[in-house]
C-alpha cells in the first residue's frame, strides 16, 4: 500500500484511522494477555477492569481531576504572567536580563517537583498553595525563555520605522514588539501547559491534602487497588491532553487570525 498516491482526503483518513487501529490493537493484546494468557491482575489489570473502576469511581475521578486541574491552571496562569512580565523587563533592561539569567538557568535545571516537600512544610500540609507554586515555577521557565526570544525578533526595518514615527516606548511595544513576540509566547505557554499538569500532579505524591489525581493514584496503589490506580492514571492522561490541546488550539487560532509570515 502506498500512502503517497492517496488523495488529501484519503491521507487525512489514514492519519486518523492508523493510530486508532494501533491503539485498539494494543488494548486487544493487553486484554488477551490478562484474560487468556493469565497475566496476574496484580501485575497488570485488564483494560476492562480499569474501565469498570473508571465507571464505579466516576464522581471521585471527576472531583480529583478538577482539584489537580485547578492547581495546574492557577500555576500555568501565574507562571505565564510572571514569565511574560519578567521577559519584558529583561528585554527592556540589560541589567534585569543579566540578573535573571542565572536564576532562570537554575530553575531550568533543578527538578522543580523536588521542591514539593519543602514547599509543603513551608505553606502547611492542608494547603494547595505549594502545588500551585510548583506548577507556576515549572510553567515560568519555558514561557520566560520563549518570550524573551520573541521580544528579540523585532526586525531592524520595523525598529527604524517606529523611530522615524517618533513612537513612544509603549507604542513600539504594543504595535511591533509584542505582536512579533506573540507566536513565541504562545509556543512557551503550550510547552508550559504540559509541565504545569505534570508538576501539579507529581507534587501531590509528597503529602499535603488528598483528593487530587496524584494523591489518589498513590493511595490506590498503596492499598493494592491497581485497577483503580490505573483509572486515575487514565484521568491524568486526559487532563494533560486537555491542557495541551486547548493551548495548541489557542495558538493555532491566534496565528491563523494574525499571519506572521516571515520577515518582510
Amino acid at each position: 500500500m502506498s500512502v503517497a498516491t492517496l488523495s488529501p482526503r484519503g491521507e487525512t483518513t489514514v492519519r486518523i484511522v492508523a493510530p486508532v487501529t494501533v491503539g485498539l490493537l494494543v488494548l486487544g493484546i493487553w486484554q488477551f494477555l490478562v484474560t487468556v494468557v493469565g497475566v496476574s491482575d496484580y501485575l497488570l489489570p485488564s483494560p476492562a477492569s480499569i474501565v469498570e473502576e473508571l465507571v464505579a469511581f466516576w464522581p471521585s475521578i471527576v472531583s480529583a481531576t478538577v482539584i489537580t486541574g485547578t492547581n495546574a491552571l492557577i500555576g500555568l496562569v501565574v507562571g505565564t504572567v510572571l514569565g511574560v512580565g519578567l521577559a519584558a523587563l529583561a528585554a527592556r533592561w540589560r541589567a534585569v536580563d543579566d540578573m535573571s539569567a542565572p536564576i532562570v538557568a537554575a530553575l531550568a535545571v533543578i527538578p522543580i517537583v523536588a521542591l514539593a516537600p519543602v514547599l509543603n512544610s513551608m505553606f502547611g500540609a492542608d494547603s494547595q498553595f505549594g502545588r500551585q507554586a510548583i506548577a507556576a515555577l515549572a510553567s515560568f521557565v519555558p514561557v520566560f525563555i520563549n518570550t524573551l526570544r520573541g521580544f528579540r525578533q523585532t526586525l531592524p526595518v520595523h525598529r527604524d520605522l517606529m523611530r522615524a514615527y517618533a513612537a513612544s516606548g509603549g507604542q513600539v511595544f504594543r504595535t511591533v514588539t509584542l505582536p512579533t513576540a506573540l507566536p513565541f509566547v504562545l509556543t512557551g505557554i503550550r510547552i508550559a501547559s504540559s509541565l504545569a499538569v505534570i508538576s501539579a500532579l507529581v507534587a501531590e505524591y509528597f503529602g499535603g491534602p488528598r483528593g487530587g489525581l496524584g494523591g489518589l493514584i498513590s493511595t490506590s496503589a498503596a492499598s493494592s487497588a491497581y485497577a483503580r490506580a490505573w483509572a486515575y492514571v487514565v484521568a491524568s492522561i486526559a487532563l494533560g491532553l486537555l491542557f495541551y490541546l486547548v493551548t495548541l488550539g489557542i495558538e493555532r487560532l491566534v496565528l491563523r487570525r494574525i499571519p506572521t509570515g516571515g520577515a518582510r
Binding site: 523611530r163 522615524a164 514615527y165 517618533a166 499571519p259
Partner: protein, 274 residues
C-alpha cells in the same frame, strides 16, 4: 550661507562627517557633505555601494547622528523634524507589519499620532486609491507581490501628508517592469502632493527619470562628487515617453560620466605611475 534663510530649504546638510567605530578601525562613511534640497524638489543620491548614500539618508531621518556638522530639516534640527513628523520614509524593504491588513498598515502612522475615526478611514481610502490598491485593503502583506507591498509602504509614508519624503532604494528589490511603473506612479504622486523628495538609488536611469538634480557620490570616504542638474525642458512631461527622448539619454550619459569620472581619473593616475 545666511543663518536665517528667507525660504526654508526642505533639507540642509552642512559640513557633515560620519564615522563608524568598528573592530578593524574607524570607517569614514561620509566626509564634508554639503547639500540642500529645496521645497518640492526631487533629489536623487546615487553612487556605488559603500558611498554612504544610505547613511546620509539615515542622518536626514535622524535614525543616526552625524559625527560632525549639522542637518536641518524644514528649518529645524533633524531630531525636532522627526518628532514633528516632518517627513515620510520608505525603505528598500517594504517593512510592513505582517499581522496587519494593508489598510491597517497604511493607518499605522495615524494611529500613533494623527486623525482617528472617520477622518483616518477616509485618508486610508484616499491613499490606497492613490497607489491603486483600493481592492486590496483587507489583504495581508504576505498575500501581495513585492511591488504591491512597496506601494503600500509608499502610501504609508504619505499618510500624514509630509512635505518631505525620504526614500532609501524603495524600488531596489523590484523587477525592471514593475520598477518603471512605480517610477511613473511616484512622479505622479509627487506632483499631486508637492513633497520634496530625497531618493537613494543605484540605478542611473531611475535617478535621471525622477530627479530635478542627481547627487553623484563616491566611496571611501563618502563624498559628493558632482551634482548633475536634470533639465528635461519645461514642456517635456516626466512620463514613459521621456525614457525614449534623446535628452534623457544625454543626462544618463552625464550621470554615468560623473559616476565613473572619479574612478576613471584614479585609474589613469594609476597607469601613469606605472
Amino acid at each position: 550661507m545666511s543663518t536665517a534663510p528667507t525660504t526654508t530649504a526642505a533639507v540642509r546638510v552642512t559640513g557633515v562627517d560620519k564615522t563608524f567605530e568598528t573592530r578593524s578601525g574607524v570607517v569614514h562613511a561620509l566626509q564634508g557633505i554639503d547639500l540642500e534640497v529645496a521645497a518640492g524638489e526631487f533629489v536623487s543620491l546615487i553612487g556605488p555601494s559603500g558611498c554612504g548614500k544610505s547613511t546620509l539618508m539615515r542622518l536626514i531621518a535622524d535614525l543616526d547622528e552625524p559625527t560632525a556638522g549639522t542637518v536641518e530639516v524644514n528649518g529645524t534640527s533633524a531630531a525636532q523634524a522627526r518628532k514633528d513628523q516632518a517627513y515620510g520614509i520608505a525603505f528598500q524593504q517594504a517593512g510592513l507589519l505582517p499581522w496587519r491588513t494593508v489598510a491597517a498598515n497604511v493607518a499605522l502612522p495615524m494611529e500613533l499620532h494623527g486623525p482617528s475615526g472617520a477622518a483616518r478611514r477616509e485618508r486610508v481610502a484616499d491613499l490606497l486609491e492613490m497607489v491603486g490598491l483600493s481592492d486590496f485593503a483587507d489583504r495581508y502583506p504576505d498575500q501581495l507581490s513585492g511591488g504591491m507591498q512597496q506601494r503600500v509602504a509608499i502610501a504609508r509614508s504619505l499618510a500624514e501628508k509630509p512635505s518631505i519624503l525620504l526614500m532609501d532604494e524603495p524600488f531596489g528589490a523590484l523587477d525592471e517592469m514593475t520598477r518603471e511603473k512605480m517610477q511613473t506612479d511616484l512622479v505622479r504622486i509627487c506632483a499631486e502632493t508637492g513633497a520634496a523628495v530625497a531618493f537613494v538609488t543605484h540605478s542611473i536611469p531611475e535617478a535621471v527619470f525622477l530627479s530635478d538634480r542627481v547627487v553623484v557620490m563616491s566611496p571611501r570616504p563618502g563624498r559628493i562628487q558632482e551634482i548633475v542638474p536634470i533639465e528635461v525642458g519645461a514642456d517635456a512631461a516626466r512620463d514613459d515617453h521621456l525614457r525614449e527622448e534623446s535628452v534623457f539619454f544625454e543626462h544618463v550619459t552625464a550621470v554615468r560620466e560623473a559616476l565613473h569620472g572619479g574612478s576613471a581619473a584614479s585609474t589613469a593616475r594609476g597607469v601613469e605611475t606605472r
